[in-house]
Symmetry: C2
Subunit: 335 residues, 2 copies
């Protein structure tokens, strides 16, 4: 059974565990400061396919295959797959995963999807609705630019607050098998909209939702940032991170002492021209399924928070003058 | 706890119940054969908004407000909202629901989303992760045509196998409060791809997944179509329905005796020029949250299957020559 803790947090009783993980990234991510952490990397943006979108599907398929292989499991051993991406109609997932024959639960939470998929997979395993479940997401710089901004061929200039969509995918296998680390608590986020309309400033659009979910979690669990080894956010980047610090300070929490942002880990922002940092569903996913899991294995981490942050915009909504709502989902991973 | 039944089916022990529901449709749906069943209808496609997309968000918001009002609940009483639609980046849901302040779980299953959202809400309530949860989806003829086909102003001609996207939304409130009817079993679907590439023939693309999910459910539960009052599919339309009968017959099941398709109920296909029938996330949602629930209330129904059917295509994937995978999720509703 799941237990409601406070207003918004869910406690899991049966310790759904991360028994395996797989990651794959692009060339730029491989050349970044944590490039050696990922299982695989591609040097060709097309990954042998005919389009960037098909390449993204291939990334997701490869991340899942890697996680399965490491756990010595086959698709028949998996009860459910929770997946999503940034592409219209989530084709990164549906086309990437169609051959596995695993019941498919499609998600859309923009860049918050990795925490969302892991949270749902954990609840399913915890309550007995699945024995083994996979959580996976992906993004691709070239498919995202074409869809949200401009085709790369246009050579558009990026603003200083703009972030660089990560080419990559990360997959976790969550299982009832006793294994460390496990998902202990979950806080699903509310949609927060502070009327940000600049589509080149995702960090500012997402920071309010990150603050809201973190505040709910700390209040529900009666804990503070100091109680955790690290608090990871998904892809707030440099702009969103500073805003989050400010918003959390107003709520009485000093986040700086424990915080790291996946979007600020993946590139050397100046040397690699990534501007405000990395972003995309594949950013927090590939880092969770490599860098973070490695630190649990080495014993560096015992208790962390992982919160992916999502901007729920669409090119259509922005053309129609809408602001950009944000949503952030949080999981507490422990040994 | 949830119990795994057979290979793919999940049984719920705590009888998560549908305690309230709300529906709203457009003018054409209101003028159809079951038009009197819906709570509300709009006569202006813009619903007082400046775009079809904003109108769709308004539909979803209204369906939720209606369900809340009928149950005498406010948004603070709701733990989670599970929502999705057909628009890119699911903006029908994120913009329609942002003001409620309810933790938001965004879903994408194309037209299968209403069964998906209801299934997830039921599992959350069953396992204690939520006391009250909402499941809601929407679609809008004009926003769907603009996005998937052509802007209406082009006056494009529709093919005989084409379906008409329903303008409408339906919302359910699922609760642990003991109340009839309740969700007893769930089967999440696998992605099935029979290499259909005709984007004007969604029925054919979805029928294989409908067959696969139904077959899994019947095998897991050791039941046959005759054991249920009615088996509803979401929006197979006239073409997909005949294909499903044929596929099920090959598996040894006679579906005809018990089957109804929401896409064939909502319009007078000839008189209303709907061709092969209705479709869209709002089709099965608005019918479940009205027509079907009314028959449970009157005592006509005691045990039904409700399976929404989704075609996981995107205009981009079709332009790139991809086929159309389908996915269908099933819930068993009982008194």
């Amino acid at each position: 059974m799941a237990i409601k803790i406070g207003k918004r947090t869910i406690g899991l009783e049966n310790r759904p565990s991360i028994i395996s993980y797989g990651s794959i990234v692009g060339k730029k991510e491989h050349e970044g400061p944590i490039g050696h952490e990922f299982d695989q990397f591609i040097t060709d943006s097309f990954f042998g396919q005919k389009s960037f979108e098909k390449a993204e599907s291939q990334l997701q398929k490869t991340a899942v295959e890697t996680a399965l292989k490491k756990a010595n499991l086959s698709p028949e051993n998996i009860d459910k797959i929770f997946a999503g991406d940034l592409l219209n109609q989530c084709i990164g997932s549906s086309f990437g995963l169609r051959e596995f024959g695993i019941p498919f639960i499609g998600l859309y939470g923009a860049c918050s999807t990795m925490a969302l998929s892991t949270a749902l997979a954990s609840i399913f395993v915890d309550c007995g609705a699945a024995e083994n479940a996979i959580a996976v997401t992906s993004s691709h710089f070239c498919s995202a630019e074409r869809q949200y901004r401009f085709p790369l061929n246009y050579g558009s200039q990026r603003t200083p607050t703009a972030q660089w969509t990560v080419t990559g995918s990360g997959a976790l296998i969550i299982s009832k098998a006793e294994h460390k680390p496990y998902i202990d608590k979950i806080t699903f986020g509310e949609i927060e909209d502070y009327d940000i309309t600049d589509v080149n400033n995702m960090g500012a659009a997402m920071a309010p939702s990150a603050c809201s979910t973190l505040k709910n979690f700390f209040e529900d669990t009666n804990t503070t940032p100091e109680d955790y080894d690290v608090i990871y956010t998904g892809d707030l980047g440099s702009v969103g991170t500073l805003l989050l610090y400010e918003l959390m300070e107003r709520e009485g929490y000093d986040l700086k002492c424990r915080h790291a942002d996946c979007g600020l880990l993946i590139y050397d922002n100046e040397g690699q021209d990534a501007h405000a940092g990395g972003s995309g569903c594949g950013c927090s996913a590939s880092i969770l399924a490599s860098f973070i899991m490695h630190r649990f294995e080495s014993g560096d981490f015992k208790n962390i928070l992982f919160m992916s942050t999502g901007a729920l915009l669409s090119p259509t909504s922005s053309f129609q003058g809408e602001s950009i709502p944000g949503v952030s989902h949080l999981i507490n991973i422990k040994i």
